[in-house]
């Protein structure tokens, strides 16, 4: 069943992201907060750690490419970042206690790293000139908090969806 469930969930998350993007930026008390929905990559990290890396890499590449073509118009940015994040997730998850909480924290940590990497990239090509302080307060923290909320709500759903599918997954970690 997971063979059909995973792509469907990926597709739904992919389409839901920009809709949540419509709510952003939030203006609270006169200052703007950019909340970037990162539903898909967080799901892919969970897929990596609780199911299998190769699936996550494939979906990461595919949806990253769609993301690039449809929204960013720079091909190769997200189609690289998504699989790369999954690879790093697989590498680190072997070294930490393997439960829901640690997976959530790992996913949030990787999200932080990805946001910073994106910030540096967009600064490099001159699409943003926001100073680091503004980036931290108006973008990074709100994004992390919102996505932590999302993971807190749906993380266990993802996990139970994947773990029940594959009893032998403990031996499947690592690269192939």
């Amino acid at each position: 069943m997971i063979r059909f469930l995973v792509p469907i969930v990926c597709l739904v998350l992919f389409f839901v992201e920009p809709i949540f993007g419509l709510f952003s930026p939030l203006s609270i008390g006169g200052s703007l907060y950019y909340v970037v929905p990162r539903f898909l990559i967080l799901f892919l990290i969970f897929l990596t750690v609780f199911y299998e890396l190769r699936h996550a890499l494939f979906y990461g590449l595919f949806f990253g490419l769609l993301y690039d073509v449809f929204y960013i118009d720079i091909i190769g940015l997200y189609s690289f970042l998504y699989p790369a994040v999954c690879l790093i997730a697989a590498y680190f998850f072997k070294k930490i206690p393997q439960n829901l909480l640690s997976a959530t924290l790992l996913a949030l940590g990787l999200l932080l790293a990805m946001e910073v990497a994106l910030y540096l990239f967009f600064q490099l090509i001159g699409l943003t000139d926001a100073p680091a302080g503004t980036f931290l307060t108006s973008r990074l923290w709100p994004t992390l908090i919102a996505n932590a909320l999302y993971l807190g709500l749906l993380g266990w759903v993802f996990r139970s969806m994947m773990v029940t599918q594959d009893p032998q997954r403990g031996t499947k970690f690592g690269l192939y």
């Binding site: 419509l22 952003s24 930026p25 970037v36 449809f70 091909i75 940015l77 926001a130």
Partner: protein
Amino acid sequence: MPQFLSNKRLILLLIGVILLVALISLTLRDRGQVSLPEQIVKEAVGAGQSVFSRPAHFVTGVFDNIDSLINTFEENRLLKARLEEFAGVQAEVTDLRSENEELKELVGKEEDLREYNPIQAVVIARNPDQWEEKIILNRGTNHGVKENMAVMTAGGLIGKVTIVTPTTSTVELVTTQNPNYRVSAMVLGEDDVFGLIEGYDAERRELLLKRIDFSVDLKEGDQVVSSGLGGIFPKGIVIGEITEVTIDEFGLTKLAYVKPAADFSMLNHVVIADRLAPEVDGEDSGMTEDEEEES
């Protein structure tokens, strides 16, 4: 042979990275054009996105309705007060409009920079990683949308079309950091003052109106509208109002901060302005393509 395997993987990784950098730099260079495969992907994703955005808009619409219901009493009081004014203004507008038409006929002027063909569109997505301020609309070349057309809401100008496919179009909002984004604007007053909207101050959240003649006096609160002289936008689309006037970095011209009139959060229905007067190629900076290459 684990050694060999990891070597092979390393080479694969290297090739991947090289390919990636090549792809990124290639697509960065000409982001305006869309190749056929890109167009197909955009179409397909756009179709899927419309399916998802419709219920979302419905839900936000319900919330908006509830919100406005709460404010109804207060609003109603205010509106009643304005209503009497309105009748007077309405009569004046009709009068002026007919007079304007008569005068135009008298002069034999047919084309007007103000006139445009409105194309109604719905926002189906907003670029979810909001590094670039982009929205995607459900109208494309099939509906007559062309590149560089002005996009606005009831509040005022919000951006211009950068990429079109047959059924979708990508709009870059005026709040972008893109240095090549220019809009010919003018300040309404006794004498119209012309300038260019160039750039956006992210911290103040205000647009920069540059290249204003040094000798002109501008006041805070003056209204800024598009001038139509850029060659693509129609004349008279509200952009915002001036909040501060300073001198630009070279000290030769004035610079004004303009607070945008449109609300950029929760965009839903927008209008694309298809100008009736002939359009000039390129961006809305009053240059033809040849001039742009030179500069």
